[in-house]
Amino acid sequence: MSFFDILQILLQGAGYTLLITFSCAATALVVGLGIAMARELGGRWASAVLSALVYVLRGVPMLVLLFIVFFGLPGIGVDVPPLVAMMLSLGLISGAYLSEVFRGALAAVNSNEVLAAQSMGFTRFQTLRLIKIPQMLRFSVPGMINELTTVLKYSPFAYTVGLPEITKQAMALVAMTMRGIEIYAAIGLIYFAIYRLLLGAVRLIEKHYAIPGFAQE
């Protein structure tokens, strides 16, 4: 079995790894944006509740939450499919981290611009939508790349709940061939390729939202 054959077998799991990564990343973005916006617009109570939620989610290990969702919830009659279990664990935790990235980026928006918007008669929602969020997204690109990379690297946990992603293929293959070094090197390469793909996607978004002549580049 050549290195190319190994790569080919491992790639059978790549589709699942991509699916897991993108669905969890999408969940994280939606949750993160939702929390960040609700914190801005909601009152003191909403903000306190969300802060508590983020606090808890950031402290719970990913695997523990995954076990609770996938193996625990059926005990109270809620059956969760594996991918949804990943979104509800990895996606939520990552969303909590992203909401903190967004919070930092929101704080970096120039307060004079907000003041100017208010004096023009913008509502709080308009200020958020037209002034704060566009800048926030730009400011949070580095943090977002970090977080999305983490999502990719946590995707092997999906094997625990029965999704046949790359790491599962690798372990089944190592069990039969005992060629650990080549096989794990090969999945390292595949993960790196997916990471480059993610990076490219975020760069595209970054480019799209960049203002010519403003700040970097």
Partner: protein
């Protein structure tokens, strides 16, 4: 405006995935049996060229052929596989699972279908052969997490002062334990006799000590499973000779 499109796309993708996922989970045709396996347990269960096969697979395949059912196989890691049975996500799990008391509390087992030895293996060039267990504490032992050895060490070794559970090194699967053995980071690895018979052909390892007659393998079912009784009946119908023939085919 573009940004809103982006968000809408995300939301759409999310709901699509969620709905798709639910569709898979809701599949409860009466003749489809959800099977949980760990395809890193040769010869009992493994994958070759993307095909699930092995001793346990043959036995259950025979059952399904006799009863006209089909298997929907999901591959988990070891703990995920056991968790799937306990939480009733799977109707049956098999991959050379030992019947143990703690496991019996949370799942039901079929009749034992084969005896299994437990082998402490080490590298040939280290030439470690134990006649008695009293020198065992001088060596480091490793094995895959979630296996039955922990229970064995706790009940058999600790009271006699032979070995302590907190001395052992735990690994995700046999693969990592054996890799560490070859790297010289651990002296001995606990393997099932079945697994050891496969790896002895591929790696420079030998048995340092073999425990016989303490371990029997069974198919694991959720508590109160009706399938279990029928599978036991099938094992009786199959008879010891035919069962032994299947075992011999894989153990050689």
């Amino acid at each position: 405006m573009r940004r809103r499109d982006l968000l809408a796309t995300f939301a759409l993708a999310l709901s699509f995935i969620a709905v798709g996922g639910c569709g898979q989970g809701g599949e409860t045709a009466s003749k489809v049996i959800n099977v949980a396996v760990t395809p890193a347990s040769p010869p009992n269960l493994f994958e070759e060229n993307g095909k699930t096969q092995g001793l346990d697979y043959d036995l259950f395949d025979g059952y399904c052929k006799a009863r006209g059912c089909t298997m929907a196989i999901t591959a988990y890691d070891w703990q995920g596989m056991l968790g799937a049975v306990v939480s009733k996500k799977a109707d049956v799990a098999f991959s050379g699972i030992s019947i143990t008391e703690p496991r019996k509390k949370v799942m039901d087992f079929s009749k034992p279908y084969m005896d299994n030895s437990w082998n402490l293996v080490s590298l040939k060039n280290r030439n470690i052969k134990l006649a008695k267990l009293d020198t065992l504490k001088n060596y480091s032992i490793g094995y895959a997490r979630g296996t039955a050895y922990t229970d064995f060490i706790k009940t058999e070794f600790e009271p006699k002062g032979i070995y302590k559970v907190d001395q052992v090194k735990l690994y995700p699967t046999n693969n990592e334990a054996l890799a560490d053995l070859q790297n010289g980071q651990v002296d001995m690895v606990f393997l099932d006799g079945t697994v050891a018979s496969v790896y002895r052909k591929k790696l420079p390892i030998q048995d340092s000590y073999v425990f016989e007659g303490i371990d029997r393998l069974g198919f694991a079912f959720p508590k109160g499973s009706a399938l279990r009784a029928d599978f036991d009946k099938y094992l009786d119908e199959l008879g010891p000779e035919k069962r032994q023939a299947i075992i011999d085919k894989w153990m050689k």
